[in-house]
Amino acid sequence: MKKIQKASFLSTGLCVLILLGFTPALAAFGEDVEKPKPVFTRDGDAVTAKLLPRGKSTSVTVRFAADSGRVADVQAVDFASVKDDGIDRKDFRCDLFSVLLENISPGDEVTLTAGSDFFSSSTRFFLYNSGASPAWTDTGANQKAYPDRVRELAFTIRDGGPYDTDGAADGKILLICGPCDSFWGYAIGTLFIRFFGVFLVLGVLMIGMIVCGKIFESAYKRKAAKVEETKLQPTVSAPRPLSAASEMEPEMVAAVAMRSGNARYQCIRTEMEPEMVAAVAMALHLEMSGPVSIKSELGAEDNQNAWSLYGRQKIMSDRMQAFKRHFNA
């Protein structure tokens, strides 16, 4: 054990030292490995973006449509290209989009809708315009939920208004926008839910096992009662059923094995040296069947002598073989 501890210290220490010593030449930390890369497809006047948002393993779709005019183009916008202004980029798990609306009457208002089953009731929709103050605006989008878990966020924007990036009432609106969810709210919320979820799952399993255990125990009790009944009948002189072995203490099994030489106990004998079995069994037998005066001299039952303690230790160690794995799990 000491060898392992020493080696463990050595390996960890070495890894840490090596990495620490080499840090000046290390690659940059915080590489964006989950950057969404949306693919856009046109669906009539609407455009659908299919992407893998941050913190998700399955892709989602976001469908952009307008009540008047036409969604001419939707593109992905790199968050690094806009000013943060106190906005946490982690909240934008889909990153940002630039949406170009055309065929609008100049200066008119348009309602843009973005629908996705990725949106939740707490999803907000933000607009960005570097020329406006503040640069970021919560659209206060209205939500509409559909039975297939799709939520639609709808908000109104004016051609040439403060969040039209081209700034002109020219029949075209260019928006930089994106759905926003509280990253930390999600992370902490899901933490609690999932931690208690583990309790719930194991709790249900525990109840299932307790119920099964009770059923089995009562079945065994009934069976044992039947056996007792048949034993009490004078005509019956059947030997003790072998299944009783499973109900016996291992120490008793060892002692019985020595006395009876029954083949059912072969498994015990093959795991231990016969001399050891004999010694353990004898020690335990003497301990258990010794006169009361001897036991009382030794004190309580727990304060057993060195012989029996050694025997128990040996039996426990041999039982451990059942759990000996080649690989830790």
Partner: protein, 382 residues
């Protein structure tokens, strides 16, 4: 052929066909890391079954221009990439290891005392605390989940989850998980003593009831049904685990159970070790992240140990029959190392107090608990 053209040819061969000019400082450092791992495995016998192939994988893949982890011109995977692709990326190897583990595991102590399942759940505390902790250091949600699961002290589960969520962290996570699992006898005892009183450490628990063969056969069926119903995402791991166990307990397919726990296990461990080692190329491994993973992995283990002990303490408040809180630390999986640590600490407090069989319950519950936690994370990102 002139001398100039001969020299040019030699130069061209040296530059394009040998690795010497392409050797970098990072690659040299990783070769040393590989050698250290092999030294620990061979000379110190420190988790040799895994560290030797991992070490050799690191050693081999960090030589320049080696056709091992890339793809050929025709798009076919190169040798170790092939093992990695089909074994780890396709999530086959961790599941096969779970099959073998199931075939090795005797669930008797857990069936005899199902209450210990709650300890296995409590000992996952560190998994979730670490998950939040690493988020503060700029890890993504998926990376945080894969680092958090290290505290579950379950090697195959860590590899399974990391391969699914953050494959670029596979090497660091796997090495951290296995290193700390080997360090359980070092990490846990001080925490166990800190969170228990001498009286509590002397608590003797009632002898576990005998568990019949029928109960042991029913357990994998009940277990698989309930767990898979509640967390379908964990079906590949738990399904294989319970299949291995029912093969063992039924006793009718001894050959299959033997194969699963020996030969099959050995085969996949070779491929797993080499594949994990081969992911640790200098350009992907030499960042701050592995360093943070090692630090948080340790913290994770500590919190998981505390979580297990505190769960027992809380359960004792509501239970007439007290449990020895030392068995709580065994809730961190790491079978059977942490159960042995509980037993050793119990014997130190009272030389007549044998806790090993009692500690095996939470120990096995920890395996199920960490798989459940992994399933929760997988489901979270779906």
């Amino acid at each position: 052929m002139s001398w100039e053209s001969v020299l040019e040819l030699i130069k061209q061969i040296l530059v394009t066909q040998t690795g010497i000019p392409h050797m970098t400082g990072g690659a040299a450092l990783m070769l040393c890391v590989g050698l250290v791992f092999m030294y620990l495995a061979i000379a110190k016998e420190f988790e040799p079954l895994l560290l030797l192939p991992i070490g050799f994988g690191i050693f081999l893949v960090n030589f320049p221009l080696t056709p091992l982890m890339g793809q050929t011109e025709h798009g076919a995977p190169e040798l170790i990439r092939f093992f990695y692709h089909y074994g780890v990326e396709w999530e086959i190897i961790p599941c096969v290891i779970f099959l073998g583990l199931g075939a090795m595991t005797d669930f008797g102590p857990l069936i005899a005392n199902p209450k210990t399942l709650i300890i296995g759940a409590g000992a996952q505390l560190g998994v979730f605390v670490t998950y939040v902790g690493v988020l503060f250091f700029g890890f993504t949600l998926k990376e945080a989940a894969s680092v958090g699961i290290i505290g579950g002290a379950d090697g195959p589960t860590t590899i399974y989850l990391t391969a699914k969520l953050a494959p670029h962290l596979l090497g660091a996570n796997a090495v951290a998980a296995y290193s700390y699992m080997a360090m359980v006898p070092l990490i846990q005892p001080p925490i166990m003593r800190l969170f228990t009183t001498p009286e509590q450490r002397r608590i003797k628990m009632r002898q576990l009831r005998a568990v019949s063969k029928r109960e042991k056969i029913i357990f994998p069926l009940v277990g698989a049904t309930l767990i898979v119903l509640l967390i379908p995402a964990v079906a590949p791991l738990m399904g294989m685990f319970m299949l291995g166990n029912i093969m063992r307990e039924s006793g009718v397919v001894k050959r299959l159970a033997d194969t699963a726990e020996t030969d099959l296990m050995n085969i996949v461990v070779i491929f797993l070790g080499v594949s994990v080692g081969a992911t640790m190329k200098a350009e992907t491994f030499l960042t701050w992240k592995p360093l943070l993973i090692f630090a948080f992995g340790l913290l994770d283990f500590v919190i998981c140990t505390v979580g297990g002990i505190l769960t027992v303490q809380i359960m004792n408040l509501f239970s007439k029959e007290k449990m020895n809180p030392l068995i709580g630390s065994a809730g961190v999986s790491a079978v059977p190392m942490s159960a042995r640590v509980s037993n050793t600490e119990g014997l130190k407090a009272d030389p007549t107090n044998f806790l090993i069989m009692h500690a095996m319950g939470p120990n096995l519950a920890g395996v199920i608990g960490s798989a459940a936690a992994a399933g929760m994370f997988i489901a979270m990102f779906q």
